[in-house]
């Protein structure tokens, strides 16, 4: 199995592209850092009891005013910037991955349904997709966010806010999956194996999920990778605009929002490091997505 994987075209093109290898390493590193956040950080930035105001506004370690153990300095509340980034990265990646899974689930189900049944169902789903596609995702996510706040009250706790973000991102990004899956299904459903499955009397959901779906996975994987970057950007943007994660459980976007207030006071490190972390994360995921698109789609070479 491993030998086969190492021998594949995909791995060959991976080995040949240095940038992709670096991007993969960086992405992996970020995921590891996020998972190991509680082990690596010197404090839990979500726990107010561990923050001491005495330690506020310390500049990074290598500057003249730096203090151990705050490698990247501290913010206004004495929160260690590095710890906050590690924990914030965890939130950003969690929302991003869950958002991608959720939007993928909606998009794949609707795409399968539209492609397999065709007719009026197809027409309705694709018309909704067309209309939604002409609006930017960030606008839709903001609206869903506002509606959720209005329905559940303005003060949501941290975990429900996370769920609202996942929901908003999921509903904003399903269209591309649905369109791609629909296209693949329309090609696949005329093949013999589908006719054979229909002849032995398998029900439509089984044929769709067990037999047709696996044959459409390539493009779905590409969209999911690129959408992970988009979902992380969307979450960060919503949090930056003040409609995302609250300051008691900040994501990278919230950290940038907080740090932005201290830019004029000369405390650049509070905003710079979360910003660099976010940019590096998005850039490496984007590069991975670009490589995957070219590698899985030989026509583009």
């Amino acid at each position: 199995m491993v030998k086969r994987a190492l021998d594949s075209d995909l791995f060959y093109s991976f080995r040949r592209s240095k940038i992709t290898m670096v991007a993969a390493a960086v992405t992996l590193l970020f995921f590891l850092l996020a998972i190991l956040a509680s082990v690596l950080s010197v404090q839990n930035p979500f726990d107010p009891a561990q923050l001491q105001l005495m330690n506020s506004r310390i500049s990074p370690l290598w500057t003249s005013d730096g203090q151990s153990p705050f490698l990247l300095g501290t913010d206004e509340q004495g929160r260690d910037v590095l710890s906050a980034i590690l924990y914030g990265m965890r939130i950003s990646l969690l929302v991003g991955v869950l958002g991608v899974v959720f939007s993928g689930a909606i998009g794949i189900l609707l795409g399968l349904t539209a492609g397999y049944f065709g007719g009026a169902v197809d027409g309705l789903i694709m018309r909704i997709a067309d209309v939604q596609l002409s609006f930017p995702a960030i606008l839709i996510a903001l609206l869903i966010n506002g509606i959720a706040k209005s329905v559940f009250g303005n003060k949501l706790d941290e975990m429900s806010m996370l769920a609202v973000l996942v929901f908003a991102i999921g509903l904003s990004f399903w269209v591309q999956y649905a369109r791609t899956v629909r296209g693949s299904v329309m090609v696949e459903k005329n093949k013999d194996y589908v006719a054979a499955a229909q002849l032995i009397g398998l029900p439509a959901p089984v044929i769709m999920l067990r037999h047709v779906l696996p044959n459409t996975m390539g493009p779905i994987l590409v969209i999911a990778t690129i959408n992970l970057a988009l979902a992380i950007i969307t979450e960060a943007t919503l949090s930056f605009l003040g409609s995302g994660m609250p300051e008691t459980m900040p994501s990278l976007g919230t950290l940038i929002r907080i740090g932005n207030n201290y830019l004029f006071a000369g405390e650049w490190w509070i905003v710079a490091f979360p910003g660099i972390a976010l940019a590096a994360l998005i850039l490496s995921i984007n590069l991975l997505g670009d490589w995957l698109r070219d590698a899985l789609n030989p026509k583009l070479r």
């Binding site: 903001l142 209005s150 003040g242 976010l278 998005i282």
Partner: protein
């Protein structure tokens, strides 16, 4: 052609009705409008009176009709947080957003076309590689980070440009403009670049691919054979033929520019519709959210419709494909 135009127009009206239903449901069902308007100490009888005066006891379909009728006359109710008519608030802030969006689009077109043409003609120059790196960064960096970076560079460190607001504005009738004062112009620079950067990379790549495509065609080869100067071939023939898709994309993107202004306006505290919308989302000010949705949708739908129709007039080859696709 007439059938196509009509079909697109009916489609556009359908979209607007759908948007109307969404924004009406937001207004009517997401939270109780009466609770938002009155204080805690209002009695039940007073609440019932307000409920009646707003017509919230009528059948939903009647309410919807009235909502759409009002929206068509540009009446969107009263803002919960400002206690002012939403239409006044929007009108007051629209010039700021439109001015920003237009400047961003002009910046994106100018730089995008120049960079695209250059990177198509000099494919291996170091500048071309630099442009491509810029475009990768332009796509990968979130808008708000670019804005913050520019503020840090040009406002905090160098102190050249203002970091927030529109500067001094001049009133011309109900329109306010920052284009006529020095501080207004200076305030426009950073927000326009931030907002236009994504469109710029889009246009640059489009111009580059189109130029490379056109340069391979027979009529360019024929122009060379006729002995025309390189300059005349590049700018008179090749570039002119890339302009139709570029203008179309820029036109279609204008709606997105207005929507993305939400982020830029927040970073630079630009007093436009986007900032109003963000504040409305934070404070759950549903009338403003609903009105903003309707306004932006109207802009989107109108632009799409106009571009679609113009496109088929300009390029007859598309008529058959477009009518087949829909």
């Amino acid at each position: 052609m007439l059938a196509f135009t009509l079909r697109r127009a009916i489609q556009a009206i359908g979209v607007m009705i759908a948007v109307g239903i969404i924004s009406f449901s937001m207004f009517r069902f997401a939270g109780d409008p009466v609770n938002q308007m009155v204080g805690m100490d209002t009695s039940g009888a007073e609440r019932a009176a307000i409920r009646k005066s707003l017509g919230l006891d009528d059948p939903v379909i009647v309410q919807f009709g009235r909502y759409i009728g009002n929206a068509a006359q540009f009446k969107f109710g009263v803002s919960y947080q400002f206690r002012l008519p939403v239409s006044n608030l929007l009108m007051e802030r629209m010039p700021a957003t439109l001015e920003l969006a237009i400047c961003a689009t002009i910046f994106a077109m100018l730089c995008g076309i120049l960079m695209g043409v250059y990177s198509a003609l000099r494919r291996d120059s170091w500048l071309t590689h630099a442009f491509q790196a810029i475009s990768l960064i332009g796509i990968s960096l979130p808008t708000f980070l670019i804005g913050i970076l520019m503020i840090y560079l040009f406002s905090v460190t160098l102190g050249w440009l203002p970091s927030f607001g529109r500067g001094d504005v001049v009133h011309i009738g109900w329109w306010t403009t920052g284009l006529l004062t020095l501080s207004g112009l200076k305030a426009l620079i950073m927000p326009s670049i931030t907002l236009g950067l994504f469109q710029m990379t889009l246009i640059m790549r489009l111009v580059r691919t189109e130029m490379l495509e056109v340069m391979r065609t027979d009529y360019i080869r024929f122009a060379r054979a006729r002995g025309l100067t390189t300059r005349a071939i590049h700018y008179g023939h090749a570039l002119r033929n890339t302009m139709i898709p570029v203008i179309t994309v820029a036109g279609l993107q204008f709606g997105s520019v207005i929507a993305f202004a939400i982020i830029t306006e927040t970073v630079f505290q630009w007093p436009g519709m986007g900032l109003l919308f963000v504040q409305a989302v934070q404070n759950v000010d549903i009338p403003i959210m609903a009105a903003y949705l309707m306004m932006v949708s109207l802009i989107f739908v109108t632009i799409n419709l106009v571009v679609d129709i113009l496109y088929t007039i300009v390029d007859p080859r598309l008529r058959s494909t477009i009518s087949r696709a829909h």
